[in-house]
């Protein structure tokens, strides 16, 4: 594809609901990153994949957050039992090994 795509672009969830956010990286990019951008803040690292392996999940804020990339391409970020503090824009980025990261447009999650 032409770039990193994310879906949905906007998601409204009631507190306690589970959500799944999808990221389609640039074809052939082995590295994939998830970031969380709270309102008025810079993006903060959540987790990193190299192909299907999740090599770093140190940024995941709680065990309600889970990410996967089973075939080394598309990735899903799942948030269980959403809370209001989970409201943020979730950004996905992909890169070639040691290359520039290309960011998707993000998914804006609002928890009511």
């Amino acid at each position: 594809g032409a770039g990193v795509s994310q879906s949905p672009r906007y998601k409204v969830a009631k507190r306690g609901q589970d959500v799944a956010l999808r990221c389609d990286p640039i074809s052939g990019h082995v590295s994939l990153f998830w970031y969380q951008q709270a309102l008025g803040q810079g993006p903060e690292f959540l987790t990193y994949f190299q192909n299907e392996a999740q090599l770093d999940k140190s940024g995941l804020p709680s065990d309600r957050f889970f990410a996967e990339r089973p075939e080394g391409s598309v990735s899903t970020l799942k948030i269980q039992r959403t809370q209001q503090e989970d409201s943020a824009v979730y950004l996905c980025a992909s890169s070639a090994p040691r290359g520039e990261q290309y960011f998707g447009p993000g998914t804006r999650l609002t928890v009511t």
């Binding site: 990193v4 590295s31 990153f33 970031y35 008025g40 803040q41 810079g42 993006p43 903060e44 690292f45 990193y48 190299q50 090599l55 770093d56 950004l91 980025a93 890169s95 040691r98 520039e100 990261q101 960011f103 998707g104 447009p105 993000g106 804006r108």
Partner: protein
């Protein structure tokens, strides 16, 4: 660990005037430095990057930045801004070794006034 400080949360500037957005960083290891721009409801777009070599780096849309190792700074400049430059700008670093987990500053909102 790395950290990035962007001291100015908002910078208003008149159209065609020059602008400087400040960025300072802290790191115990050598780093690569980046500036990204984010337009409303869009993802991040890379403006420019410093990896090595010349400390003055030129990027897209007429922006440039200068790496100053002694002052641990990487300020972004443009000699004449346009209305279309209104956006949020993020300074970021990654360690020069290892994989590229990016550490971002909190961002500076550039407001260009007609």
């Amino acid at each position: 660990a790395q950290s990035v400080t962007q001291l100015d949360s908002q910078v208003p500037v008149f159209e065609e005037a020059p602008v400087e957005l400040r960025c300072n960083y802290s790191s115990s290891v050598s780093v690569y430095l980046f500036w990204y721009v984010q337009y409303p409801n869009q993802g991040l777009q890379l403006l420019l990057k410093y990896l090595s070599g010349s400390t003055l780096v030129k990027g897209i849309n007429g922006f440039e930045a200068e790496f100053n190792k002694s002052q641990t700074s990487f300020h972004l400049r443009k000699p004449s801004v346009h209305i279309s430059d209104t956006a949020e700008y993020f300074c970021a670093v990654i360690p020069s070794g290892g994989y590229q987990k990016v550490t971002f500053g909190i961002g500076t909102k550039l407001q260009v006034i007609p």
